[in-house]
């Protein structure tokens, strides 16, 4: 029973996290600079200075730990570099256990819309499974796919595509207060 209650609390927390709208472009605040790796997460910040120099901050996670991994064309396999980033993410998430994460899967524009949604789901799940295998509780992780709907680079060549084929770990505090 206790386990169940705890799980429900985590679920509640997750749904609260969902209310922060992982859709960072379509939300009421419009586009923000998070995709460039610098913007704070607004009112979901924990106590503390929250700046990039604070190792417990979301900004630190984004900039120093690295919030994203990249994929090759039409693949959801983690690269060695991606695994190294996720090792650091797993460490950080275990240290900062009050954070929850929504893992966003993205695709480049070479592909049809719905296939890319499914491909993004694969990529997000690959990250979730890896983080879970490194000890991050699966209940703290949730996935979403944006397919090709949210490119961060706009050119139509491999230089941009490579950056758009990504999974981004977006963290927020799961506190209900």
């Amino acid at each position: 029973m206790k386990m169940t209650t705890k799980a429900m609390l985590v679920l509640l927390a997750l749904s609260t996290a969902a209310c922060t709208r992982p859709d960072r472009f379509g939300g009421a605040n419009g586009a923000d600079g998070m995709a460039n790796g610098g913007a704070p997460l607004g009112n979901t910040m924990p106590a503390g200075n929250g700046g990039a120099s604070d190792p417990r901050s979301a900004a630190y996670f984004q900039q120093t730990v690295g919030d994203r991994v990249l994929f090759v064309v039409d693949s959801s396999s983690l690269t060695p570099q991606g695994q190294a980033t996720l090792d650091a993410q797993a460490n950080w998430l275990q240290t900062n256990s009050d954070y929850l994460a929504i893992i966003e899967g993205h695709a480049d524009e070479q592909g049809t819309r719905e296939y890319n949604l499914a491909l993004g789901a694969r990529r997000a799940n690959a990250v979730r499974e890896y983080l879970a295998s490194k000890g991050v509780a699966a209940t703290r992780l949730r996935t979403i796919s944006y397919g090709k709907e949210r490119p961060i680079e706009v050119c139509s060549n491999e230089e941009c595509y490579a950056k758009n084929r990504r999974a981004v770990t977006v963290i927020s505090v799961g506190s209900l207060s």
């Binding site: 859709d23 995709a35 592909g111 789901a121 690959a126 796919s145």
Partner: protein, 442 residues
């Protein structure tokens, strides 16, 4: 059938030179549409008669729109009024056929418009110039002046249908995604328009991503993927009242790619769970759901056969994405696409004979059609990014999304005849994607 058209076409060509009326005698006004139609059938639409004071503008607008609809198919060519030798008399009065033969009009459309308050009446007659007889009975449509475009489309549908022997598609609507803003901050909302881009109405705001809407078979509702809840879910929107609700689906992290069953009571769609995407079916009223596929690969973009017995979909179970067909209840699918590259977004033709699809090959995208056994594949378009075909109600035309490349890339709606001819952009204000072509309106 083909010969019949060729005679007509031959007559049309020869008529430009000598004794056309003699050659043309006994060649009924009938255009059999085949892949070989390259000579559009010449027709004339003299400005409809205004039967009431003040109806002149609408009479002119309606006759222009009828002509535009027919010319827009690429199957007909309008003879300009400057070439007319005589004018039409009062509606229903005898037609001076020799004068129309002399300018090589094969079809002649006469009409009359009456306005009383906001009530609009449109009458029309279609004449087969070379046989010197009316083709079909005169027809009359009544409505309001605000609906004048629909009445013009109905006249054009009737003319198209009588001449080709096939259903028309002008009095129909398209639901699509209206787009605004740069690629890295694109705002999307659902919109509905007439097939020709007129009468746009927005159905949602752009506060959440909306994707890939689909019209119900009767055109009264729309299914689409929405991020309104923060995560991809399926919404059902009532077009008349513009009210929407989230559809109950099987459990899953993401629900997307919804399509109506043929009777409009069920939805087939994709669920992604643990990174794996499969197809499910749910009853729109009870929410009861069935799993249709169970494979570690991606199964998405389903489309019912017109009789509702089969579902065509895309799957990457063999590596790259390909097109498969299975029973509507699920079960082992058979692969139907075997050409070069990757295949996706299969859509079953309303006539049942063809499957339209997106093909990605050699760095380009194509819209294509194939028979339901995968044979006779033809790629109709080529561009940087073409995707997501939708069928006209008569199965003759495909509309799809074309995106241009680069930082300034935008989306637009295009249509192409299934022969590969008559490729054109639909005039839509702003960016547009993911069209779904609804049925002919009642």
């Amino acid at each position: 059938m083909k010969n019949r058209f060729m005679i007509a076409a031959l007559a049309a060509v020869l008529a430009l030179g000598t004794s056309a009326p003699v050659l043309a005698q006994g060649s009924p006004l009938r255009l059999t549409i085949t892949d070989g139609v390259i000579e559009p059938l010449p027709f004339a639409v003299p400005t409809f008669t205004a039967e009431t004071a003040g109806a002149e503008q609408l009479a002119s607008d309606i006759s222009r729109l009828v002509a535009q609809d027919l010319s827009g198919t690429g199957l007909f060519r309008e003879i300009p009024s400057s070439a007319y030798i005589s004018q039409m008399g009062a509606f229903g009065s005898p037609v001076a056929y020799p004068d129309w033969r002399a300018i090589n009009a094969q079809a002649l459309i006469g009409g009359a418009v009456a306005v009383n308050g906001d009530q609009l009446t449109v009458k029309f007659r279609l004449y087969d110039v070379f046989t010197g007889a009316e083709l079909g009975e005169g027809l009359q449509f009544a409505g309001t002046t605000g609906g004048w475009r629909r009445m013009a489309h109905k006249v054009a549908d009737a003319a198209y249908s009588r001449i080709t022997g096939e259903g028309g598609y002008f009095d129909s609507r398209v639901v699509y995604v209206a787009e605004q803003g740069p690629k890295d901050n694109r705002q999307k909302r659902l919109a509905i328009m007439d097939f020709d881009g007129a009468n746009t109405q927005f159905l949602t705001d752009s506060s959440a991503i909306v994707l890939a809407p689909r019209f119900s078979p009767s055109g009264d509702r729309v299914l689409y993927t929405s991020y309104e809840s923060g995560f991809p879910r399926i919404n059902l929107l009532d077009v008349g009242s513009v009210t929407k609700r989230q559809v109950a689906t099987a459990e899953g992290e993401m629900a997307f790619s919804p399509r109506f069953s043929k009777d409009g009571s069920r939805v087939v769609y994709s669920i992604a769970n643990g990174g794996n995407t499969d197809l499910y079916m749910s009853d729109l009223n009870s929410g009861a759901s069935t799993r249709l596929t169970n494979a570690p690969s991606i199964e998405t973009a389903p489309s019912f056969s017109p009789d509702g017995s089969q579902i065509v979909f895309e799957s990457d179970r063999s590596g790259g994405s390909q097109i498969y067909i299975m029973s509507a209840g699920g079960g082992e699918p058979r692969r139907v696409s075997f050409g070069e590259g990757r295949y996706g977004t299969p859509v079953w033709s309303p006539r049942g004979d063809l499957i339209a699809f997106t093909n990605q090959n050699g760095g380009q995208f194509h819209i294509g059609v194939m028979r339901t056994d995968g044979s006779e594949e033809r790629l109709l378009t080529t561009s940087f990014l073409d995707e997501g075909p939708t069928w006209s109600p008569n199965g003759r035309v495909l509309m799809f999304t074309r995106e241009t490349q680069g930082a300034g890339g935008t989306s637009a709606l295009y249509s192409v005849d299934i022969s590969g001819r008559n490729l054109k952009e639909i005039p839509v204000q702003g960016g547009a994607s993911d069209p779904s072509w609804g049925p002919l309106q009642p």
